[in-house]
């Protein structure tokens, strides 16, 4: 049984005051996330990431489709005892101290009274707010509020944790701490579903990712599968390469960059295999320093897929416009 199961989830909003028209913020999203996975939900701003998380938390209601968390429908209030949620740019009661807020939420989560104080204290220490526990939240910076948000999402030792842009507002140190925390949660066997547009975070943390753009799922899979999706060539670093030898390599290379002192970085297209080029380099008396495949990075993948999705959406709009005429 997957920890999270989403099937054809769709959300439409009415836009316009006098003549409201439906705007599809999420379009038939289908996903399954296994227990113990750290799952990255990626996409640019406005892609539908927060909409999906709000639907799962029942802060908004789906137009169609369904979803389950831990085998229970998303409307099941009791399941929320087993999950944690960090909203995007969280905001809490500024008249409460960090300790009071967490105690209040721990009460609502039915954390036993005997454990409450210790758990609140431990979590505040974990997120680095041990010293500020008795400060009112109105005195907290954005990054500190984010840390409080992470702490409140973990109060009930949840089986599934939903984090909406968990690195938002954090400094590099804070980001490192949160990364370590997510990996800890993974090691404890918990499922983490987090949305982000910061690809480095996904690369560092996720076993699988889904990419959404314009409300649609454009790709999903294991991160290494996506990263290896396309090897677009080879990168050779060569030393002691004479100008004549360089010229003989130029027709085969897509790019040749001088690093200095007779060293060059030569990029070869996929059609030119290293085996074809290496004999010529050896014959010219040059030496190979390194040879690496040029992989499509997640960032390249991200940009390309989103551009494709955008073009498709524009195409649909044009086709729809023609059909409407």
């Amino acid at each position: 049984m997957p920890a999270i199961h989403i099937e054809e989830l769709t959300k439409e909003y009415a836009v316009g005051f006098w003549r409201p028209r439906p705007y599809r913020a999420l379009d038939r999203l289908t996903l399954a996330i296994d227990s113990g996975e750290v799952f990255g939900f990626l996409g640019p701003n406005g892609a539908g990431k927060t909409t999906t998380l709000k639907l799962l938390m029942q802060l908004i209601f789906p137009t169609s489709g369904r979803a389950e968390i831990l085998g229970r429908p998303i409307g099941d209030v009791a399941t929320r005892r087993r999950i944690g949620y960090l909203p995007e740019n969280p905001s809490f009661y500024d008249y409460l101290t960090a300790e009071e807020l967490l105690t209040y939420f721990a009460q609502l989560l039915d954390v036993p009274a005997r454990d409450r104080k210790r758990r609140v204290s431990d979590l505040l220490d974990t997120v680095g707010l041990g010293r500020e526990r008795r400060f009112q939240l109105r005195k907290f910076s954005k990054g500190m509020i984010q840390r409080v948000g992470i702490a409140q999402a973990l109060l009930n030792e949840p089986e599934v944790i939903f984090l909406d842009e968990p690195m938002s507002g954090l400094d590099p140190l804070g980001r490192r701490d949160v990364r370590a925390l997510i990996l800890d949660l993974r090691d404890q066997g918990r499922t983490v579903f987090f949305s982000s547009h910061i690809l480095a975070d996904a690369e560092a943390l996720c076993s699988r990712v889904a990419v959404v753009a314009a409300g649609r799922l454009v790709a999903t899979g294991r991160l290494n599968e996506l990263a290896e999706f396309r090897i677009r060539g080879w990168e050779l670093v060569v030393a002691n390469l004479s100008p004549a030898a360089l010229e003989s390599l130029r027709p085969a290379a897509t790019r040749a960059i001088e690093i200095g002192s007779g060293r060059y970085t030569i990029e070869l297209p996929l059609s030119e295999t290293p085996e074809q080029v290496l004999p010529a380099i050896a014959a010219a008396g040059a030496s190979v320093v390194s040879l690496n495949p040029l992989r499509e990075t997640l960032e390249d993948f991200f940009v390309q897929r989103i551009a494709e999705a955008g073009a498709r959406t524009r195409g649909d709009a044009v086709a729809g416009g023609h059909a409407g005429r």
């Binding site: 909003y13 709000k54 938390m57 802060l59 009791a78 949620y85 939420f105």
Partner: protein
């Protein structure tokens, strides 16, 4: 039930940390003090003026608390987005509404209790310093337990106003909620006139409209027994129970409507 209690306690804590209720209690106490000074100038009538002004102050200051905190109960949570983390906890939306309402009712109860105690303290002092021959002319005793009947009905009236403010706060902005709640409060004071509208107009449509409004709007004038208690006139227990029962039904209807609206609301 526990969730409702925790939410209510948090609302109470918020209102305590918000300095507005303290100021209102202070103002109410000042007004009661002023009424005492005024009473010094009017021989024989002083105790009645103190009771009258004291009860009016409890009602007016309670009304300010009910409206100005009530309109923010839900809308503030939505505006500052604190509702996102809260509703992701194991609480249902009806529990959220019930907790918010119970919290403000608790705040009002404490405020009305403090103001009533202050009024009784002034009346006790008056009774103590007034000569026996003047006291013999009073229509009702100085420290009259019957005053509690008036404060009880004031409290139920404030609970209705709170429910109205909460109802509007589930779907409109704080300013609009305040305006609508205040308008409904004023209309509620003159509701009895709508009942007798058929005696002054001939149009059947107007009479039916007035009847409809009479049943729809709260009849708040029923909760005002200040005149009776000040002048020592009887306020039967049956009347007290029936009026409180009417208030409870009206509150229940408003809370059900607020819950129905709130349960379907998207928090974009």
């Amino acid at each position: 039930m526990r969730a409702v209690r925790y939410i209510a306690i948090n609302v109470f804590r918020e209102s305590v940390r918000d300095r507005v209720p303290y100021n209102l209690v202070l103002f109410a106490m000042l007004l009661i003090g002023a009424s005492y000074l005024l009473g010094q100038l009017t021989a024989g009538q002083d105790v009645k003026i103190i009771k009258d002004l004291g009860l009016a102050a409890i009602s007016v200051f309670g009304l300010f608390i009910a409206i100005f905190i009530g309109i923010g109960l839900v809308s503030k949570e939505v505006e500052r987005r604190s509702i996102y983390a809260l509703l992701a906890k194991p609480i249902s939306r009806p529990q959220f509404i019930a907790g918010k309402y119970a919290g403000l009712t608790l705040t009002l109860l404490v405020n009305v209790a403090v103001m009533t105690a202050a009024l009784y303290a002034v009346l006790a002092y008056m009774t103590w310093v007034t000569p026996a021959h003047i006291k013999a002319g009073w229509e009702a005793p100085g420290v009259d337990p019957v005053l509690l009947k008036a404060t009880l009905l004031i409290f139920v009236e404030l609970m209705i106003v709170t429910a109205v403010a909460l109802f509007f706060s589930t779907f409109s902005s704080p300013i609009l909620s305040a305006a609508l709640t205040f308008a409904l409060y004023v209309a509620g004071q003159f509701n009895t006139d709508l009942k007798n509208f058929d005696q002054v107009v001939e149009s059947k449509a107007a009479v039916w409209l007035a009847r409809g409004l009479y049943h729809l709007l709260p009849d708040l004038s029923a909760f005002d027994v200040k005149l009776q208690v000040v002048h020592g006139l009887p306020v039967p227990a049956g009347y007290l129970a029936a009026t409180a029962g009417y208030g409870a039904l009206y509150i229940a209807a408003l809370l059900i409507a607020a819950t129905l609206i709130f349960s379907r609301r998207d928090f974009k």
